[in-house]
Every structure is written in structure tokens, then in C-alpha cells.
């Protein structure tokens, strides 16, 4: 009996996503090296930097949980940035931009979902292809009308604060809360866990498997659209090359947050802290003057070690 208790205890501890540990370690490092930086104003600004990534991760987490992946984010980001900055829609209002961005995210997400869920095309390939098409479309459009300025209302909103906390950060936390509640309180969350753990069993227990995957991709598309709006507001200018590394970073943060391909496990907050870890990682490394190469290597090592930690646990729980 004692052994059983210990074992479940071990399982419980090793179930904590690696992101929490990484975050704690980075916080301690920062506390020792630059104690003055640990105040709400400064941290707020650092966290604001990763809000687009954070929102993207909310969607990526969902698709990874149903054993899929979305690599089309960069294309959506570029397209939405282009809508807003290119005066393609002259004099359009903020709600119009939000609406058309969400519509784009929805359409791309639905298409990805249809291809992955219904047509059963490899998610890696299809979302990659969609990304290439979207980037190509923007390149084509940009040759006729290069991106220009972003209406100032975007950066005005981006720079507001509520109490001491930047609005974008609050927006991200709110979205994460909604997502967390949606997955824990609604039937859809159960569907996601089931499809992730075993799609065939999910089918036989009456889960609409294809629809679950399609909805996951659609939500991911919407999240990408929201992330794009925040990203565009943050850079306040049009660009022909923006955020191309975001989707793969989103995958990395999700993994760090303890969500694993096709195991049906994981929640919103692990990846949330995965993103926060990336934010701190960037700060800590810049603080210590670690160059570009060092950043890449550290990032790679952290992801690898986190994955190994998780891999060993799953190997253990299997026997």
C-alpha cells in the first residue's frame, strides 16, 4: 500500500509540466541578478512582449492535444498585418478589421480542420502548404501595394494599462481563462482529451471525432487571428516578413507546458507558463549578454530536456 501511495505521489509530481520548473528557476536567477526588475511595471512590459505568442499557443495547444499541428500561423499573421497596414480597406474602422481578421482566421482554421479531420491529410504538410499559399498571396499583393502604416488606434489600445497591468496582458490572461474554463467545464474539453488519447475509442464512445478536430483547428485559427491583431498593434507598422518563427515557437512552448502529441493530456496553464518561461528566458539572456547563438542553444536544450523529462515519465508509467 505504501508503495502504491509513493508511486502515485511520484506520478503526481512528474505530471507537473516542466514549464513551471523552468519558470521558477528563471525567476530565481532574475531575482538574484537583477532584483529591481521584479516589479509589476517591468514584468508587465516583458510579458506584454510575448502576448501574441501566448495567444497563438492557446490554439496550438488545442490542436496538439488532438494529435495535430498548425504551422499556418505565420501566413495568417502576415495576411492580417497586410489587411490592416496596406490600406487595402481604406478608412476601415477597428471593428471592421477585427471582423475581417477573425473571418480570415476562421476560414483558414476551418480549411485546416476539414483537410486534417475530414480528408485526413497529414497536418504537418497541409498546414505547411496553407502557410506557403498565404505567404505567397501576401507577397503577390504586396508587390502591387506594399504594406504601410497601421492605424494609430491599434497602438493606442496596445499601450493602455488597466490598473498597473498592460491591456494586452489582461487580454491574454482573459483568453486563457476562457479557454481553460471552456475545456474544463464544457463537454468539448472531454472530447478533446478523448480524441487525443485514442481517436478510434473516441469514435466508438460516440465522440464526433472529425468535428472535434475541425473545431480545434477552427479555434486555433481564431486564436491566430487574435494573436495577429495584437502583433500588428505591437509593431504598429506593416511588414512583409513578420512572425515567421512564431508557430514553431508556439509548438515549443506548448511542449514545455507539458502537452504531448496524442496523449490527450495537458491543460491551458502549462503552456501558459511555457510562454512566460520564454519571456523570462529572453530577458535573462539579454541581461547576461548571451548572444544570438547562445540563445538558440539554450532554447534548444531547455525544450529537449523538458521533453526528455516527460518522455521518461511516460516510459515509466507504461510498464
Amino acid at each position: 500500500m505504501a508503495a502504491l501511495f509513493n508511486r502515485t505521489n511520484f506520478n503526481r509530481i512528474s505530471r507537473i509540466p516542466p514549464a513551471y520548473f523552468v519558470f521558477a528557476v528563471l525567476l530565481i536567477v532574475l531575482w538574484i541578478a537583477r532584483p529591481h526588475m521584479l516589479n509589476i511595471n517591468i514584468m508587465g512590459i516583458f510579458i506584454r512582449q510575448v502576448v501574441p505568442l501566448g495567444i497563438l499557443v492557446l490554439g496550438q495547444m488545442l490542436v496538439i492535444r488532438v494529435n495535430s499541428i498548425d504551422l499556418s500561423g505565420a501566413g495568417v499573421l502576415l495576411l492580417i498585418n497586410f489587411y490592416i497596414s496596406s490600406s487595402m480597406f481604406p478608412g476601415a474602422s477597428l471593428p471592421f478589421f477585427v471582423a475581417i481578421s477573425l473571418a480570415t482566421g476562421l476560414a483558414v482554421g476551418l480549411f485546416n480542420g476539414y483537410m486534417v479531420g475530414k480528408r485526413r491529410v497529414s497536418a504537418v504538410i497541409v498546414t505547411l502548404a496553407v502557410n506557403i499559399v498565404l505567404v505567397g498571396i501576401v507577397q503577390f499583393l504586396a508587390s502591387g501595394k506594399p504594406p504601410g502604416d497601421v492605424p494609430s488606434i491599434f497602438s493606442d489600445i496596445y499601450n493602455t494599462k488597466l490598473w498597473l497591468i498592460p491591456t494586452p496582458v489582461l487580454f491574454w490572461v482573459a483568453l486563457a481563462l476562457i479557454m481553460s474554463l471552456f475545456l474544463s467545464r464544457f463537454v468539448y474539453g472531454r472530447y478533446v482529451s478523448s480524441v487525443g488519447a485514442n481517436p478510434v475509442a473516441a469514435l466508438f464512445s460516440g465522440v464526433p471525432v472529425e468535428r472535434t478536430v475541425i473545431v480545434a483547428h477552427t479555434i486555433a485559427g481564431l486564436m491566430t487571428a487574435l494573436a495577429s491583431l495584437v502583433q500588428t498593434a505591437s509593431i504598429a507598422v506593416g511588414s512583409v516578413r513578420v512572425g515567421h518563427e512564431l508557430p514553431i515557437l508556439a509548438v515549443a512552448a506548448t511542449i514545455l507546458g507539458g502537452v504531448v502529441f496524442g496523449r490527450g493530456e495537458g491543460g491551458v496553464w502549462g503552456p501558459f507558463f511555457g510562454v512566460l518561461s520564454f519571456a523570462l528566458l529572453f530577458v535573462v539572456m539579454t541581461t547576461f549578454g548571451i548572444g544570438e547563438s547562445g540563445k538558440l542553444i539554450t532554447q534548444g536544450l531547455i525544450i529537449l530536456l523538458a521533453a526528455i523529462f516527460y518522455g521518461l515519465r511516460t516510459a515509466k508509467s507504461r510498464t
Partner: protein, 519 residues
Amino acid sequence: MQVAATRIGGDVKKRIEMSGISKAFGGSVALKNVSFELLEGSVHALMGENGAGKSTLMKILAGVHQPDSGEIFRDGRAVTFATPKEALDFGISTVFQELSLLANLTIAENMFLGREPTLRFGTVDYTTMNRETTKALAELGLDLDPKTMVSELTIAERQFVEIAHGIKADASIFILDEPTAALNAADVEVLNRHIRRLRDEGKAIVYISHRMDEIFEICDMVTVLKDSELVATKPLAEMTPHSLIAMMVGRELKDLFPERNAEPGEPMLDVENFRISASSEPFSMTVGKGEIVGMAGLEGQGQQRFLRSLVGQFEPFGGKVSVRGKALKFPVSKDGGIRYLQSLGVGLVPEDRKEEGLFLTLSIGHNIAMGLHSRKSEFSLADGYGEKIRETMASMSVQASGPAELVSALSGGNQQKVLLGRYLAAGMSILLVEEPTRGVDIGAKSEIYRLLRDFANKGGAVVVLSRETIELIGLCDRLYVVHDDTIVSEMAAENATEHNILDAALSRQASQVRLETTP
């Protein structure tokens, strides 16, 4: 039919001696100081409930696992096998329980996988492989092109290829772990003939099966394991099925099945002029309230395809189906069919609990509640169903630390109960159950039979498929005999025997019938 016990004489050589084998996985003990001897020229049955340690013992012998302590002697010399390949090199050949052929390889490639002959420069010698394969298949009476991809074979053909793979080698020791799980009676006889031939050649064979009739038909010796320990090794001539079961579980066979229902109520499921495939004949069937109906017959004659067509996994070629008098919108869609039928109170319990049934990495609670959740739309609030889960676990006596325990940590029997529990908890009124006790030990079997009977007695209706005819006869009220994608006969289970079921199936058929593929 009884094999002479006299063969086990004093001068017979011990092919294998395993002594004092212990093995633990993580914290759980799988084998405790088990000894096992295998004599040349004998067929040795290895019996025990699931989780008793049979498979682990054989996997140690086959080099898949290594023992924590204990020794293995091959013809008197101590040996260790680090890999299955090493065991094979020592002449130990295995047919594993799971269907383990690779669908994307040809028969010949499967047969020689891991020991392909090569020509110069390491090129695989396909000529030899194909020739040898044809020969090995012919010995089992099979006429298959060795270049055929396994994905194109029927289940039974695959099982035979698997057997041919296990016993084609120039090995002297054979481990057959449930080789007949997917075979029908006629095919089993072909296999038995082959096993006897091997025995007569002086080979030693370990035979694992849950089917009593087979054990007594071909085995000489039996070793019984219980709770990871050795109970006894005896000549089968000294045993009866009853005493063997008693040894395994301490219980009598007649206690296995619950009482039948006397009077079925109004029809719950009505099938009229149903056609499984384009060329098959239409048939009708019905299941009444409180009734358990079995679909009997040879393996792969369309029983499973019929059940799965009802829930949309296959497209039927016509027919009318009504549930409690209400006609179904037919055919139903592949993705939504199961959901649609569940909304009408019809649940299909799939055969393969690991692949199709359970979420092994998730909790018992999640597994049980999933049937309840999936009756709702994804955008509705999820109930915790805590009470319902506890109730279900208690009523099914699932042995676990609690609803939060992962299903992967449970034994086969308890897993099967959780699976069945999902459909009972979801409040289904009609259950379509495929292989309710596949790979489940006798103790759990009897509990599952009782649960199904209780379900029927409370006003439910059950359709059961099983490869084990004894199970169908014991459990059901009424049987439909299925052959060639249609129902050929109906009989009360009380009067049914394995013999008259086979008769009913085969008398109907005039010409040679090709086995239907069941994906």
C-alpha cells in the same frame, strides 16, 4: 482423442527447464519463483487467468523480457536470451498472442522478417524467401502467393500466416500464445493436425489458450499459474475441464453463466431485409426486451460487419432497421452514426478494448463518463458525473484505487468492465457487444456474463458476437447462425450445441465460400 500419458516416460529429454523465475515490472510482481519444464515430443498447456503470468513467462522464454532471478536451461545447459533473436537462434520459435503481422509487407517478407537470407552485398534473397514461404504455407494447406501483401489477406489467412511464421523455423521449441483466437473450428482442426505432426517429430510445444476443448484435444501436460505463482504441473489425462477450471479459479463451470430469461418482452431492435453486401441475401432479425441474442457461426461470416453496419461503420446495401418501433434514418454516416444510435439508446461495445475501446492514458472516471458526455453537444456544460462513476464502478466491482486511476494500470478483466461500464452508465437500452470477454480470465468472464444478464433483466436488450461458441450457448437466450453474410438459422440457446450450430452454418452452403474480410 486423449493423448496417451505414457509418452511422458522417464527417458524423455527435458528440452527446456526454467527454474525459480521471478520478474517484476516497476513495483508489480509478474512472476514469483516459477519453475517450468518442457519435454520433447509433448504439447504442454499453460493455463491461468489473465494476469496470472503466462504471457510474461513465455516472453521470458522467447527473449522479449529478461528474468530478475532464476535460470533457463536449454538441453541441460544454462542459457540467457537478451533479445528475441537470440532465443530464436537457440531454436525457440514463438507465435504471439496479438496479431503481429505487418500489413505493408508481403507474406514472404513477414515470414522471414528478422532473418532474411541475403545474397552477395547484403541484397535480400527474395527468390529463396518466396520459395520457402510457398512451401511452408502449403504444409498448412494454404495456397497463397507469397508476394501478396498481408493487407490484402483475411483475418483467418493472416492468423495462418502468423502460425506458419512461428512454426516454419527449424526450431525445436514452439510457443503458441493463443494461436486460435481468430480461427474458426475448421481452421483450428487444420492447426491441430499440424501441432500433432510437430509433436510426433519430437518437438516441444507450449500451448496457451482459453478454450478448454482445444486444450483437452491436443495437449499432454498442463501447468497452471495463479497470481504470479505456480499452482501445479500435471498430465492432462488426470484432469477434467471441471477440475482444471477449479484449479485455475477454484470454481465450477456451471457457475459461470447466470440464469436465462424466461419470457422476452416487446421487440427493441427490429431488422428487416437487411443486406450486408451487394451480393448477400437479405435477412431479418429481432431482439426483445430482456433478451440476450447471440450471432453464432464460423469466424468472419459477416457478424461483425452486420453490427458495425448498424452504427454506420460500413454501408449496408439495403434494409430497414427500427429501434423500439421507430425506424432509423438509414444508412447512417460513418462519423456520426455511433453518436446517432447512442442518442437512440443503442451502444456498440467494440471488440478490441485497447485499440477501439479504452483511453488507456486517461482515468477510469473519464473512460466511464465518456458515454454520458458524448450524448451532449460539445458546447454544453459538462457534468462531473462523480456519483454515477462511483456507482458504476461499485456495481461492476472494478478493482482500482479510485476513479482517478489510469485505465492502463488495470488488469484485462477490469479494463473490460470499465469499457462495458461506459455503455451501462450512459443509460443505453440496447447493447451490441462484440467479444464481451476477449482475453479476459474466467473470474472476470463470469462477472461480465452476470452484468449483461442483469442489464437484460432490467429491460435491456443485448446482441452478442463471440468466437467462443460455448460462451454464446451459455450466455444467450436465442442464437442466430450467420453464414455468408446472412442469417441461415435461428435456435434457442438452450438446445444449441457447437455441433448443430456448425451444421446449420454449413448445410446451407452448397459451394465453397470465400471468407469475407473483416477489417
